[in-house]
């Protein structure tokens, strides 16, 4: 299967706008689950408004949130997919700029030192483009995540030492969820990276934060940790928007990587309740959109 960069550009433009408008079904179901269980009156009212907003965005064909985020594209390439990787990356950059200009979207991206905004939602090394490979033969999958800044600012890394053990990891996660409080727009998905190098650990936290609700870490020890931490953070009483209640997080997700004998890294990356993502799957017969 040969991939035409022009089609990638059109699809990636569409993905950005789709992601900003319609939440995935797993997140909608997550809202229904939290709303049914919330015991705090303020918390329940806030969840009700969030659910109303999802409906208003769909009925008015509007963006869910004003924050157009930092665009992230996760590209997964199967073994029988023929694609010029350099042109594919260029197409994704053009797609972000085109979506921003044509819709038009707020440009949320600035130079990190001069703070100059060229109104394209692109810039040095932005969009973030992650490339991975799968064993699905003739499948190219592109996932788009507009990562909101309120929750991205709730990102933390600690290079714990081995003597701190799993206790150090657990304490760090609980304390960072407390520190983030209402600033990260709870209810959230708390992404936790455990192990690896410092940079891999933070990347794992992002993978965890943007995984669909209901998915489980494929490392048994990680899966156990995500169950325990989900219960722990929801016992704290932070609640929706940090104004009190049971619904602090839809879930805590954990991703793990092997690490060095002298290291015990843990990272937290948080996804706000507007957990937006959209996916396009290219096969020889069609391009199909989903979440």
């Amino acid at each position: 299967m040969k991939i035409n960069p022009k089609i990638v550009e059109d699809v990636c433009k569409e993905l950005y706008i789709r992601a900003l408008k319609v939440l995935p079904d797993d997140i909608k179901q997550g809202f229904a689950r939290l709303d049914a269980a919330e015991t705090d009156a303020t918390g329940k009212a806030i969840l009700g408004t969030m659910i109303q907003n999802i409906k208003v965005a769909e009925s008015t064909d509007n963006l869910l949130c004003q924050d157009t985020g930092i665009p992230i594209y996760n590209v997964t390439i199967g073994p029988d997919v023929q694609v010029d990787g350099h042109k594919l990356k260029e197409a994704i950059v053009r797609a972000c700029a085109a979506a921003t200009h044509e819709y038009p979207l707020r440009s949320s991206v600035v130079h990190p030192i001069t703070r100059a905004n060229d109104h394209t939602n692109t810039g040095r090394r932005i969009p973030v483009i992650n490339i991975d490979f799968s064993d699905e033969r003739e499948v190219l999958r592109i996932e788009m995540i507009p990562k909101g800044s309120g929750s991205e600012n709730g990102s933390f890394l600690k290079m714990c030492v081995p003597a701190e053990g799993v206790d150090g990891i657990k304490t760090f996660v609980v304390d960072k969820v407390i520190e983030a409080g209402g600033k990260v727009c709870p209810p959230t998905i708390v992404g936790v990276g455990v192990g690896g190098t410092a940079d891999l650990c933070v990347h794992l936290a992002k993978i965890a934060a943007t995984r669909p609700l209901g998915s489980v870490c494929d490392d048994e020890a990680g899966a156990k940790l995500e169950c325990e931490l989900t219960a722990a953070v929801n016992s704290l009483g932070i609640g929706p928007q940090g104004l009190g209640g049971d619904s602090t997080a839809f879930a805590v997700h954990v991703e793990t990587a092997a690490t060095h004998i002298t290291m015990n890294p843990v990272a937290v990356n948080i996804q706000c309740h507007s957990a937006r993502r959209a996916t396009a799957t290219f096969t020889p017969s069609a391009v199909e959109y989903g979440f």
Partner: protein, 203 residues
């Protein structure tokens, strides 16, 4: 707990009548302001031609479309999606906004901290909590973008919106030293030890 409908601007007495837990809806003028706007105004001495005295500001940077028809869109912008950003980043600007410009109400999400609380008590102001991430709904409360200043900072310009039934917003911090955020934080601090104990963390 009571609900108030305010036509902006309002008086100090009206602001001081509010208590945490009350709800408020606004009508009339609302100013949009953000990080870069306030960095320019308070760190670099930029002046605005707007009079913010006794008004409300909201922490926002909107999605807008440039339009030619100035009769319908006086600022040259049509609103697309207008929402609210995290307030805590702008904590240090609460006092100068109130002291230098007479702002009475700050609307945002996630709450403000001790410096702002002191300014609200001393100068007569409140923080109204809006629900972050609900911009599609919030946009339906905005009638028009009436004017814009400092627009070289776009999207972090100083925006003048006309709003109708903007709310209900929750009084999160009042002029009597009340803060719903601090109340929640105290509960959370109490529960932390129990949460860590259930996790099997040895202290």
């Amino acid at each position: 707990m009571a609900h108030y409908d305010f036509d902006m601007p309002i008086s100090e007495d009206q602001v001081r009548s509010l208590r945490i837990g009350d709800t408020v809806s606004l009508n009339g003028t609302l100013f949009g302001i953000r990080d870069a706007t306030q960095i320019e105004m308070f760190d670099r001495g930029r002046k605005t031609r707007f009079n913010l005295n006794d008004h409300a500001v909201i922490h926002t940077a909107p999605n807008v479309r440039k339009v030619e028809d100035k009769t319908k869109f006086p600022a040259g912008y049509a609103p697309i999606c207008i929402g609210t950003t995290t307030s805590a980043r702008m904590e240090r600007f609460t006092r100068p906004l109130m002291e230098q410009h007479g702002v009475r109400i700050i609307i945002g999400k996630g709450g403000l901290m001790a410096q702002s609380k002191a300014a609200f008590v001393e100068l007569g102001g409140v923080y109204l909590a809006i629900i972050g991430g609900t911009a599609a709904l919030e946009t339906t409360w905005i009638e028009a973008i009436e004017d814009v200043d400092l627009d070289d900072l776009n999207p972090e310009s100083l925006w003048k919106f006309r709003v109708r039934d903007f709310g209900p917003l929750l009084v999160g911090m009042d002029s009597h030293g009340g803060s719903l955020y601090e109340t929640v934080q105290a509960t959370v601090a109490e529960r932390r030890a129990q949460a860590l104990s259930v996790l099997g963390v040895k202290s």
